[in-house]
Homo-oligomer: 366 residues x 2
């Protein structure tokens, strides 16, 4: 699989949905496979809230595989011997694209808390700039899970002629009160970390790691299903020799402690807040008098909508809602309810049913 990683710099000013502007921005991208002569084999994959541009393959010996490595690759579901796959770290992220930890061209200092609010629409607009830069006439497919699926949906609404297919997986046309509440608790935990310093921790060379860790621990619970946790951990006690923390009794606690700590080492707290706020505010129907059917009448792409039975964070009703509105709006769409052993995280993992339905969709006629 031919892999290419690059940081692109765009000089044009981008106006964000919030009204703020970025005078110039950077996008960290990674591509897999090659663009064909007809330029009709390009697939954009959009990451979920804590993901980044590294979607497939392993960059270094023993390194971490990309977040969708089970799906993207030669002879895999999104077959990189046929398709040119583009993956981009979103604005506001912390892995190379313009975000809180990058340097503002205006002040020559790290943005920190001053990085403006971003939205799913803003990401799609930035990705459209990328499409033009790559001289691709249209995406054959835009795909993603969770917040990534929201971007795929937004693409089909914002740029109907620039996208042939949208794969909207484990996603929602707007998140629930409960989702917002869980995001707010995570933000509260981070904001109240003694090292948060109102978001300007970088100025003091400190990091709110404790807050990030606890927020991620909470996140992890919501990404997994109750059944999956029961199967993996049950009520098994952690052996004293392998305890991460003195206070831990059960294996499940130890696992969360470990995962949380790992995350806190690498992720940025301001990005966490920005990304979850973007998830909260996503609501494409708001531009169409809260009428999702009216909103969907913009769409020309074919839609693939998938939900997972074990997902309690974005339950299957969310997928069904999208499908019903698509039908009413006369959009070509298919909805599939998949098993999935991993709760909300199921979209990250291969299963035969999931792979074959997504592959058939991608390789179907337009």
């Amino acid at each position: 699989m031919k892999t290419h990683t690059e940081k692109l710099t765009f000089d044009e000013t981008i106006k964000l949905e919030s009204g703020s502007t970025l005078s110039g921005f950077e996008l960290m991208i990674e591509t897999y496979g090659e663009l064909n002569q007809n330029k009709d084999n390009a697939v954009l994959v959009c990451h979920a809230f804590s993901g980044n541009h590294h979607a497939a393959g392993t960059k270094t010996e023993g390194g971490k595989p990309g977040w969708w490595d089970q799906i993207i690759g030669d002879d895999k579901t999104i077959d990189t011997s046929k398709y040119f796959v583009v993956s981009v770290n979103n604005l506001g992220g912390c892995d190379g694209s313009s975000g809180p930890i990058s340097i503002s061209p205006e002040t020559n200092q790290m943005y920190g808390a001053s990085f403006p609010e971003v939205s799913v629409k803003d990401w799609v607009n930035a990705q459209k700039t990328l499409l033009e830069y790559l001289k691709i006439p249209a995406w054959e497919m835009v795909a993603g899970g969770s917040l990534g699926g929201m971007q795929a949906l937004q693409w089909s609404i914002s740029y109907p002629t620039l996208i042939k297919k949208a794969a909207i997986i484990a996603a929602s046309s707007k998140i629930s009160s409960q989702n917002i509440a869980l995001n707010e608790v995570a933000r509260e935990i981070i904001r109240k970390d003694e090292n948060f310093a109102e978001g300007d921790y970088h100025l003091q060379n400190i990091k709110p790691k404790k807050g990030l860790k606890a927020a991620r621990m909470l996140g992890h619970i919501t990404y997994l299903s109750e059944a999956n946790m029961r199967k993996r951990f049950g009520r098994k006690l952690q052996s004293p020799e392998t305890k991460i923390d003195e206070e831990v009794s059960y294996e499940v606690e130890n696992y969360l402690q470990y995962k949380g700590e790992q995350f806190a080492e690498t992720f940025d707290a301001n990005s966490y807040i920005l990304m979850t706020k973007a998830m909260d505010s996503f609501d494409p129907a708001k531009d169409f008098e809260q009428d999702l059917v009216k909103c969907f009448k913009q769409i020309k792409a074919k839609l693939f909508i998938a939900s997972f039975n074990s997902d309690w964070l974005f339950p299957k009703e969310y997928g069904k809602d999208i499908q019903l509105s698509a039908i009413k709006a006369g959009v070509r769409s298919s909805y599939v309810e998949l098993e999935g052993d991993y709760g909300h995280d199921s979209f990250l993992f291969h299963s035969d049913e999931y792979a074959s339905s997504l592959k058939n969709f991608l390789e179907s006629d337009e």
Copy 2:
């Protein structure tokens, strides 16, 4: 309704399940109604993890009604014109009974983090001391929701001849991996508050309020159902004039901020940790080779087991498991699945079906 509040001091040493001892302890109790001549109308109600002895009525003009005020009172479900209701703040709590904020008779200082680990069994043992003190031959019923229901179940196992009926509501015979994980996140948030001081915050005259607040915000999400939050808050934006916190966008965020702050003012962080640990460790089958049926063979009381459809924290499968084991063990029991609009918190609120089934159970023959 005749109401009596009293702090009782017991001089006897109590040995806790952990192996630690308390040389003397205090119990804060509240009673409603009067013990009859036959002493066969006494009902013990057990509080859930953040509750206390104040279960019914309103202590002061404009004060907060007790946590089960919709259920307990003259002519209510647990009718205080017929029954003598006893409510006790549990050991390890922070409302008058021996716990982290009370004074150790050994050191003459506040226990703080040194207060020993407590368990559901320990609470039941302390309540048994109370039963003897009150010179009541046996409880007509022990009842509670959530962690309170676990105490009712433990009573029927520990002291089969001292309890006629047990009402086990929105409870479980042991909690799941997911429940433990949620408790651990709450504890992690509290422990990592800059003011936690390894649990000895009282020595510095500070309180880990920020951690307690965020932990409670998380708790609130789990106590309510997704449907209830949707109905109450949906995605409504909070008006700027009534925002509690600058960072709040949605009503649901504001509500959680408010509830969390209120709680942090009154509850004790060490108690929070102790109470959730008691919930995690509850597993009566562990004394019977993990065989719940064998464990239930101790029981002589009649059981009333109720679960609520909207409860995702302690879902109805938990109630069914108790019922199935009761049937196999030959215990007289009835299981009811109730609607309940409030998720896990439904056990706190009156509904006709809930009230009539619990009342019928209480007033049935032994």
